[in-house]
């Protein structure tokens, strides 16, 4: 498949790219102290590790505070509608397999309105990386419970709490077929950058849940820095072991938790193309 445009192969920049090369310079709309600043920094650092030219990277997102991230990078960006980032990213990758596709968003965008796409992106296993900045709250709409919010968290929309258990995205990702599952913490930008680079390099659908505090609506999340800890054991490629670990951990384990070897979704043309006129043959009576 080829684009109709003149995507002429430009000369590759000879100089080594630094994380600054991946920043657009646009001023984020985020609150002071938001974890997403660090995640943006981790993404640009990961791209510097990977040395991918910015024009060959597409950052795709939906709607939410964290979904504003594409325009803060110097890559191609796609800031679509709420919950559909994974769908749009799937389209980008199928159309142009040679591009590096990063998908970014929050817990509401990915696990609530976009929940169905999350399941199917995991099982489809298209080679791309999904970064969720999870702060257990809807920040852009000013403090409503999200799928990962604790059941007793009090808010105007759900006084006294929702009373329903929190969603476990890592377990769902594993069960749905994601090929790489990791957890990161925004307070460790270098560690997170390494994880993102690993995720991009891993074939198939990679999922990184980043604990990224919302200091405005969940100020208690400032304490996360005291609770996160490196995963006690190395990554497994055994889904059963990974499932047990993810089902029983404290939610603060940071690192690669599962790295599978399932075949990614096949990309690119299958077989040799025929002239269009050949398609007409079947219309002969």
């Amino acid at each position: 498949m080829t684009p109709t445009s003149s995507t002429a192969t430009a000369e590759k920049p000879a100089a080594v790219l630094t994380h600054a090369n991946y920043k657009s310079g646009a001023k984020p709309i985020w609150c002071p102290g938001c974890g997403d600043y660090s995640v943006l920094s981790s993404i640009t650092k990961a791209l510097a590790i990977l040395q991918r030219p910015p024009e060959e990277v597409v950052v795709v997102s939906g709607i939410g505070c964290s979904s504003r991230i594409p325009a803060y990078t110097s890559c191609y960006g796609f800031h679509g509608v709420h919950g559909r980032a994974l769908a749009a990213a799937t389209g980008v990758k199928l159309a142009r397999p040679e591009l590096t596709v990063l998908v970014a968003g929050g817990d509401g965008d990915g696990y609530s309105i976009g929940g169905n796409h999350f399941l199917h992106a995991c099982r489809r296993n298209v080679d791309m990386t999904y970064i969720v900045m999870d702060n257990h709250v809807y920040g852009m709409t000013k403090g409503q419970p999200s799928p990962t919010t604790e059941p007793d968290w009090d808010s105007k929309l759900a006084p006294g709490g929702t009373g329903i258990r929190a969603f476990n995205p890592l377990v769902v990702a594993l069960a749905s077929g994601a090929n790489f599952v990791a957890r990161a913490f925004s307070g460790d930008p270098n560690g997170t950058a390494d994880l993102i680079a690993k995720a991009v390099r891993h074939p198939g659908f990679s999922f990184i849940e980043i604990l990224s505090p919302c200091v405005t609506f969940r100020p208690e999340q400032r304490d996360w820095k005291d609770h996160v800890h490196p995963a006690p054991v190395t990554a497994t490629d055994d889904p059963a072991r990974a499932a047990r670990r993810l089902m029983t951990d404290d939610g603060m384990n940071v690192g690669v938790l599962y790295a599978g070897n399932r075949n990614p979704y096949p990309l690119g043309p299958k077989g040799k193309s025929v002239p269009l006129a050949d398609l007409e043959a079947e219309f002969a009576p």
């Binding site: 498949m1 109709t4 024009e55 769908a87 799937t90 389209g91 980008v92």
Partner: protein
């Protein structure tokens, strides 16, 4: 005044209904009959109708054959041939008969339902199943094929050839079924009253194609190389045709998890530079609305084929209706100009879908193609359509284009697009309102500039003559769209034969509304009749809102599921002609 009937119209052809329970093979027999007719040099149309059951319900192939191209069913069937009568009475409305009709069934399979006998049609019993049983390995529907085909005047060789060409099973059974066709053909000798087609001459260069296949092929000709879609009746066959076809030309089709994914996937793939399409029906179009709005705002070309069916909600999934028009032209939030086009025939599904790709790409806009179940799932024998050469091509920038602004306020409204991979021109496509550089903006001026730009690019485009089929002259004009065009064209011919000439304006471009185009087409027209197949007169109201129609415009509209018939439309045209004459103070000129 005499009501015009098919018998007064030249080239009305022959109408045959093959009916039976699901699994009786009537669709196979109908498809082979159409194929044989095509080989023999006839034109034809086959409309499929079936009960809601997936397997085992009742089914009927409604076929019209003629020496000239066929775009609509006739008012009456000359022949109803039933393999059995199980629940076939449910098709009484869809298979209208008259005293001149012939009904053939097998007594042992039950009595002819009263709904058919009450028409006065002549009923005959023939041992179809018994004949098949006498030829081991043969099927009853092949006896029916031989019978119906021969009554239609199709040479036996063409019937046999049609079967051989489609045969994929064991050769011994082929011989048995060829014998069954022959037995059916011999039985035809004893039956009169079915007006066979006059002698035909075999012709090459014809196509046998459904509207869904034609739309799929048109899409590929236009340059579509990626499709994401979710199965839905009656659009699924379009996708099933495109899946292997795309693979053959270096493209691909992905079955999405839902329509929300479908539309967002193709916005993503098109943003990445590959012309992209999805196909759906009303419920899917409703789910896609937000994504189509994103394509409007981010200025990403996409084509959405809506194969309309009865609505609202789940409605009547396997039957046709033109009732998504209002939704297609106005069903997006915000001020969101979009392209809406409608093919005017099965063959035109190819051209119009190809044109839609061209328009979407040229104007960086979503284009909705309003097909429907009648065109989509029916098969027609057509002349090989010309390649009108509509190719999707978008305006792009090269590497490191200086001063690139993705949403630049150009005179045409079309801004050069940068495709991922192109260095020095990265930007973020966004559903947020933005400034010319693509930076999100809630400023009044930026909003106004971008709204004007998105409206202007559609309005200023030169759509040429392809915006409508305009035929004939006269002071009365019939304005219609989509699959209504076929029966309207036939009705206009009948009305003309009865002394009331009328002009046809079948609008292929529904949105944007271009009043100056319609004004020119209606030059000299004093009276307008708008024809459409829906309950709410949606097209009539759309035209009244956006165009100044001459005189006191009239509406003929009725919902599905029954196809529009030439007779009811000819009546409406003649009545409109009478009113036009009386208003003008001149005597009616109707001859009859």
């Amino acid at each position: 005044m005499k009501t015009p009937t098919s018998s007064t119209t030249p080239h009305a052809g022959l109408s045959i209904a093959l009916a039976g329970s699901g699994g009786s093979g009537v669709m196979t027999a109908g498809t082979l009959l159409l194929s044989a007719a095509a080989k023999a040099g006839a034109y034809g149309l086959m409309v499929r109708t079936s009960g809601p059951q997936i397997r085992g319900g009742e089914a009927a192939a409604l076929i019209r054959l003629a020496r000239t191209p066929v775009a609509s069913l006739d008012d009456r069937f000359h022949l109803l041939l039933a393999i059995d009568w199980q629940n076939v009475h449910r098709f009484a409305d869809e298979i209208p008969l008259s005293a001149g009709s012939v009904v053939i069934g097998e007594e042992a399979e039950g009595e002819v339902p009263a709904a058919f006998t009450s028409t006065g049609a002549r009923c005959l019993s023939l041992p179809l199943k018994k004949t098949a049983k006498g030829i081991p390995g043969s099927w009853t529907n092949m006896v029916a094929l031989g019978l119906a085909g021969t009554l239609a005047g199709i040479p036996r060789e063409a019937l046999a050839e049609a079967l051989k060409d489609s045969w994929k099973r064991d050769p011994a059974a082929l011989a048995a079924n060829l014998a069954a066709i022959e037995a059916g053909a011999q039985a035809a000798a004893d039956i009169d009253g079915v007006p066979a087609l006059p002698a035909l001459a075999a012709r090459s260069g014809r196509w046998l194609i459904s509207g869904n296949e034609a739309a799929g092929f048109g899409a590929i000709r236009g340059g579509i190389r990626f499709v994401a879609a979710y199965p839905i009746t009656p659009a699924t066959e379009l996708l099933e045709w495109m899946a292997p076809a795309l693979t053959k030309v270096g493209g691909s089709l992905l079955q999405a998890e839902d329509e929300l994914a479908s539309i967002n996937m193709i916005v993503g793939s098109s943003f990445a530079g590959v012309p992209s399409l999805t196909a759906t029906a009303g419920p899917g179009l409703a789910l896609m609305t937000e994504g189509i709005g994103l394509a409007v705002s981010a200025e990403v070309p996409v084509v959405v084929v809506d194969v309309m069916r009865g609505g609202p909600s789940t409605g009547i999934p396997a039957k046709s209706e033109q009732s998504d028009l209002s939704y297609a032209v106005s069903g997006l939030h915000g001020d969101a100009p979009r392209i809406v086009v409608a093919p005017t025939s099965i063959a035109d599904c190819l051209h119009t879908t190809q044109w839609a790709v061209h328009l979407a790409e040229a104007l960086q806009s979503p284009a909705i193609v309003l097909s429907d179940q009648f065109m989509g799932q029916s098969r027609a024998i057509i002349d090989r359509p010309a390649d009108l050469g509509f190719i999707g091509k978008r305006l792009t920038v090269g590497p490191n284009a200086p001063d690139f602004k993705r949403y630049r306020d150009t005179p045409s409204g079309v801004s050069p697009m940068s495709i991922p991979g192109n260095p020095g021109t990265t930007y973020t496509a966004d559903g947020l309102e933005k400034n010319e550089a693509g930076i999100p903006s809630s400023g009044a001026k930026d909003h106004r500039v971008q709204l004007d730009k998105r409206e202007r690019k559609l309005k200023l485009h030169d759509y040429g003559d392809f915006w409508a089929d305009v035929e004939g002259d006269g002071e009365l004009a019939v304005i219609t769209f989509g699959s209504a065009t076929g029966p309207v064209r036939e009705a206009i011919a009948r009305a003309a034969a009865a002394g009331v000439p009328a002009r046809l304006v079948a609008m292929r471009l529904i949105a944007p509304a271009l009043p100056e185009k319609l004004d020119a087409a209606l030059d000299g027209v004093k009276h307008v009749l708008v024809v459409e197949q829906n309950h709410g007169a949606q097209f009539y109201r759309y035209l009244r809102a956006w165009f100044d129609l001459p005189g006191k415009p009239e509406s003929f509209h009725r919902p599905g599921p029954l196809p529009l018939k030439p007779a009811e439309l000819a009546e409406a045209i003649l009545a409109a002609g009478r009113r036009e004459s009386s208003r003008a103070g001149k005597p009616a000129t109707n001859r009859a």
